[in-house]
């Protein structure tokens, strides 16, 4: 149990770090990667989802708050929000960004976790069978 929690914490940190690195790369689609890694690291899918979602969300929240504080980006969010939802709606975009970040973390974790199970089940077991046949 303790080990699982340690891995949960570790995977959260890994997700946070990878997500931070990805903010330096202008290809946002890569945001699925940290979740996949968290899903792989945690045996429990729930823990994987938790680490991935909160890891991406926390990282993006810090990034967003930092951007708003240093670059007044919330003004831009408001200006873009006004085009779609009317004035003063920058907060909608802010919530949307964080929510989508968490969702991509979740999806990544599911893909990573189940993907690992399937790989283990089919690929590794096939390898084992082959090895046993060789032996």
């Amino acid at each position: 149990m303790e080990k699982e929690k340690m891995i949960l914490l570790l995977s959260f940190i890994v997700v946070y770090c990878i997500t931070s690195v990805l903010t330096l790369i202008p290809v946002w689609h890569l945001i699925i990667i940290p979740g996949i890694i968290a899903g792989i690291m945690n045996k429990s899918m729930r823990y994987g989802i938790l680490a991935a979602s909160t890891g991406v969300l926390t990282c993006w929240l810090v990034y967003v708050l930092f951007g708003m504080a240093t670059r007044n980006t919330y003004t831009i969010l408001n200006q873009i929000g006004a085009l779609l939802f009317g004035s003063g709606s920058g907060w909608i975009f802010m919530l949307l960004i964080l929510l989508i970040g968490a969702i991509f973390g979740l999806l990544g974790a599911v893909i990573g976790n189940i993907g690992l199970v399937l790989v283990n089940r089919y690929v590794l077991s096939e390898n084992r069978k082959l090895k046993s046949l060789e032996n």
């Binding site: 003004t75 969010l77 408001n78 200006q79 991509f104 999806l107 599911v110």
Partner: protein, 863 residues
């Protein structure tokens, strides 16, 4: 076991599908907004838009000769200090890019016909027209000539322009991942700048101020009235508008009436048809429509008083240029100091241009208003097959310019411009651009001869002007200035004041125009007959000018340049009605001991001299008709107007009533004739004022559609009833006391991007299009009127103490909508009637910390 496997597969497939769907959704552009993922997610789009400038920054720059320090003051204005002139211009280029990169990019793209590359097919017709007009083409020839002159040692400004461009490109190179929001919205990257961009932007500035179709509109009116009564045309299109107070006061005063005689000439139906079709097509191009609509509202004020009028004992000079109100504003405040050449100027630059258009150095200063000299003539030619046209009686082949226009999302479009001897053929290529009146093989081609479409030397002029030390040097420098023509008002620390309408003014040969036709470039010339050739330009020393006048002040507000005693050269067909000039002359004539603060008040003056001219006649006609017991609503109207001091205050009702009444009065006076005979543009306001004051039974007041004969007062009363009905309906309130001007007259500052959320305003405002502080609105539709243009800056130069000079711009220094300097000057100064000090008296060593917002140090690489 199989069930669990299936569940896992379903789960992972679902997760992958959901991921794909979400990624697709966030990758697809919605409406005009690019993909939300690329725009909003951390690490992308908006998160890379630069913030405020770092408080302290040190950069090593290769190619720099000496250290440069850029100190930003509390308004974000850069004060650039260096000891090598090319270095400080490098820094200026860097600052322009840092604050206005997208704006500069748009300027050069418009000028060079490259908008479709980023906007797609919708911008193709603008690109074609701009390429055909030839800004880029003539900029290129001007640049080639400049390099040639530099090689011969005749000019020395090129290195500063090149270093300025290097400064821009250094910013682009070092900020590839930090671009203004607009680049992410439009999904393109800025290309490096080159010298041709800068000269093209200069040509664009000329076009913005002087491109027009007035000759063609006038021609429609000329032909409309030609067959009815030619005098009608001369009455409504007099080259000498009534009540003008000339810019240069030393050439006599105009009589009140000066309508020219006119004779009937043969009507050219085919030409009328082709010009009408062409104008209709042009009006379908947004940018051209904007130029047409704003032509008469573009202008400026400048005035100067000498030490006898001022309370300082030295001249005080004011200038506010009316550029329209885009955000960011066209103008950019700059203070540049270079000790090697004793350069020290404070002024307004246009981003993309390295030199200021107005400002001052340590010896002298100047302001500019448009001197609306006519340097654009339209010619029509008969064609002779596809490849030839008739010029001066002979068949002549066109010359051709070929372009390949890049269009976003599709293949490049080949485009060929046909050039005549006078200029490009403009009426034959709009047919395929979605305009309303397709070209149908006309036998007539229309081509403009336009002065900026030549090799001009504005850069030479301005470079020397900012280095001038006295009036003589300034005059020598400004003699190279060509376009757009400007009234150059001047003051210096030695106590001199002066004004000179400056620019290249063509001299035409009108010997071939038919009897009864108007020359001086006021109507299109028959190029096939060789009419209206430009034979020379008016020599600089033959242009009107005034130095140290006995009245101790000088005023220009785009009115006529000189009085009737100036006979050397014909100067202009179109100029302001003169209401701003009237008010400024009144203010300056009757004021003594004028301080800088008083001058600041004058810049915000919203007292309407037009209201003062018209309103008493409205009141008299109404009181004469109704006597002592008018109906209560009309009594309320009279009460408002009788108590009015002609100040267009946003809280008052009188300005609303006067304004709408004035509009209806003009409509009911002229609409009957103009609509019956298919004339287009209405006469100027001072023409109506003239008939109102001097001829109350003028035929113009008679409605030709009624059996009776109406006079001035009849029309005033008809207009009154229409006004009351209109305003009652608009305000949904019958009480004239509640028709507040600020409810219908708003100031609106629109973003260059066209995105409404980046606009500033609307703000309730005082003034009107003809007040010193101008803000014109249309009240044709029954809806709120928005003013989109007026003073773009306000400058006051105090020659007793240049550090006491003041300024403000209609916006802010930075074009970044997330910056506090995006709109700070607009909201804190411009709309509040305030200025800020220029801080031009400080050096790099004593610039106060309390005023310093940030400092950038440029050091030579390895130094």
């Amino acid at each position: 076991m199989i069930t669990r496997e299936k569940k896992d597969i379903i789960k992972i497939v679902s997760a992958i599908l959901t991921t794909i769907i979400l990624m697709t959704i966030f990758s697809i552009p919605i409406l005009n907004i690019p993909s939300l993922g690329g725009l909003l997610f951390p690490g992308n789009g908006i998160w890379k838009v630069p913030g405020e400038i770092p408080v302290r920054e040190l950069q090593s720059i290769s190619g720099l000769n000496n250290d440069v320090t850029i100190i930003r003051d509390e308004w974000g204005v850069p004060h650039i200090y260096g000891s090598n002139e090319s270095d400080v211009f490098f820094a200026l280029g860097y600052c322009h890019a840092q604050d206005r990169l997208f704006q500069m990019d748009m300027f050069r793209r418009i000028a060079r016909g490259k908008m479709a590359e980023i906007l797609g097919f919708s911008a193709l017709k603008d690109d074609k027209l701009n390429l055909a007009i030839g800004m880029e083409y003539w900029a290129n020839l001007t640049l080639e000539k400049a390099y040639e002159m530099q090689d011969m040692g005749q000019i020395d400004f090129i290195p500063t322009v090149e270093r300025y461009i290097e400064g821009i490109n250094h910013y682009i190179d070092t900020h590839k991942n930090e671009m203004p929001l607009e680049y992410y919205l439009l999904n393109f990257e800025p290309q490096k700048f080159e010298p041709l961009d800068v000269i093209s932007i200069l040509k664009f500035v000329s076009l913005y101020y002087s491109w027009q179709y007035n000759d063609l509109y006038r021609y429609i009116n000329y032909e409309a009235f030609n067959s009815v009564n030619p005098v009608w045309y001369s009455e409504t299109h007099t080259p000498y508008l009534p009540y003008q107070i000339p810019v240069c006061p030393n050439y006599g005063e105009f009589p009140q009436s000066s309508f020219a005689e006119s004779l009937q000439s043969e009507k050219n139906e085919l030409l009328v048809e082709e010009i009408s079709r062409f104008l209709s097509n042009i009006e379908n191009i947004d940018f051209q429509k904007e130029l047409i609509d704003s032509y008469c509202s573009k202008g400026s004020n400048n005035w100067v008083i000498d030490g006898i009028k001022s309370n300082t004992g030295a001249p005080i000079l004011c200038n506010d240029q009316h550029w329209g109100w885009p955000i960011p504003t066209f103008l950019y405040e700059t203070h540049v100091v270079s000790t090697d050449t004793n350069l020290n100027f404070y002024g307004y630059t246009v981003p993309g241009l390295s030199f200021p258009i107005v400002g001052y150095n340590q010896y002298l200063g100047w302001g500019a208003t448009i001197f609306p000299a006519d340097h654009l003539d339209w010619y029509y030619f008969n064609t002779d097959g596809d490849s030839n046209y008739i010029y001066n009686g002979s068949s002549v082949p066109y010359s051709y310019r070929n372009y390949e226009i890049k269009v976003k999302g599709q293949k490049p479009v080949a485009f060929t411009v046909k050039d005549t001897v006078h200029g490009p053929v403009l009426n034959t290529f709009l047919a395929n651009e979605g305009v309303s009146n397709p070209f149908e093989d006309p036998n007539i081609i229309l081509a403009p001869k336009y002065l900026p479409n030549s090799i001009t030397y504005e850069f030479v002029a301005i470079y020397d002007m900012i280095h001038a030390k006295n009036r003589a040097e300034f005059d020598t420098a400004s003699s190279n200035y060509a376009s757009p023509p400007i009234n150059m008002v001047y003051g210096d620390i030695y106590g001199n004041i002066a004004i000179r309408p400056t620019g290249a003014i063509p001299i035409r040969d009108d010997s071939k125009i038919p009897i009864g036709y108007y020359g001086n470039g006021s109507l299109p010339y028959n190029g096939s007959n060789g009419e209206g050739e430009w034979v020379d330009y008016a020599p600089f020393n033959e242009l009107p000018n005034t130095l140290n006048p006995s009245q101790h002040y000088l005023v220009s507000a785009n009115q006529i340049a000189a009085g009737p005693d100036y006979v050397q050269h014909f100067l202009h067909n179109d100029y302001a009605e003169g209401y701003r000039a009237r008010r400024l002359n009144e203010l300056l004539n009757y004021s003594e001991d004028i301080s800088v603060s008083t001058m600041a008040g004058f810049q915000f003056d919203i007292n309407s001299s037009m209201g003062k001219a018209f309103t008493p006649y409205f009141i008299n006609a109404t009181e004469n008709y109704y006597g002592l017991s008018p109906p209560s609503q009309i009594d309320d109207v009279l009460e408002e107007l009788n108590g009015w001091d002609y100040v267009m205050d946003k809280e008052l009702s009188a300005p609303t009533i006067y304004r709408k009444w004035r509009d209806f009065f003009k409509s009911y006076t002229f609409d009957d004739e103009f609509s019956t005979y298919n004339a287009l543009t209405k006469p100027r306001w001072s023409v109506l004022e003239y008939f109102m004051k001097e001829n109350e039974t003028s035929h113009w007041f008679d409605d030709i559609n009624t059996g009776g004969t109406e006079n001035r007062d009849d029309i005033i009363l008809i207009a009154l009833n229409a006004t009351i009905e209109w305003l009652e309906d608009f305000y949904d309130d019958p009480d004239p006391h509640n028709w507040k001007w600020g409810d219908i007259h708003k100031l609106y500052f629109r973003s260059l991007t066209g995105l409404p959320s980046l606009n500033l305003g609307p703000y309730e405002g005082g003034g009107e299009g003809y007040t010193v502080n101008p803000s014109g609105i249309s009240m044709n539709e029954k809806e709120v009127g928005y003013s989109y243009g007026g003073a773009a800056h306000r400058l006051i130069i105090d020659f007793s103490n240049l550090s006491n000079s003041r300024t403000c711009i209609a916006g802010g220094q930075r074009g970044l909508s997330n910056s506090k300097h995006y709109s700070d000057q607009l909201t804190e100064l411009f709309l509040q009637g305030k200025h800020h000090l220029t801080y031009s008296g400080y050096s790099v060593n004593n610039f106060p910390d309390s005023l310093t917002e940030s400092i950038i140090y440029f050091k030579p690489d390895g130094g």
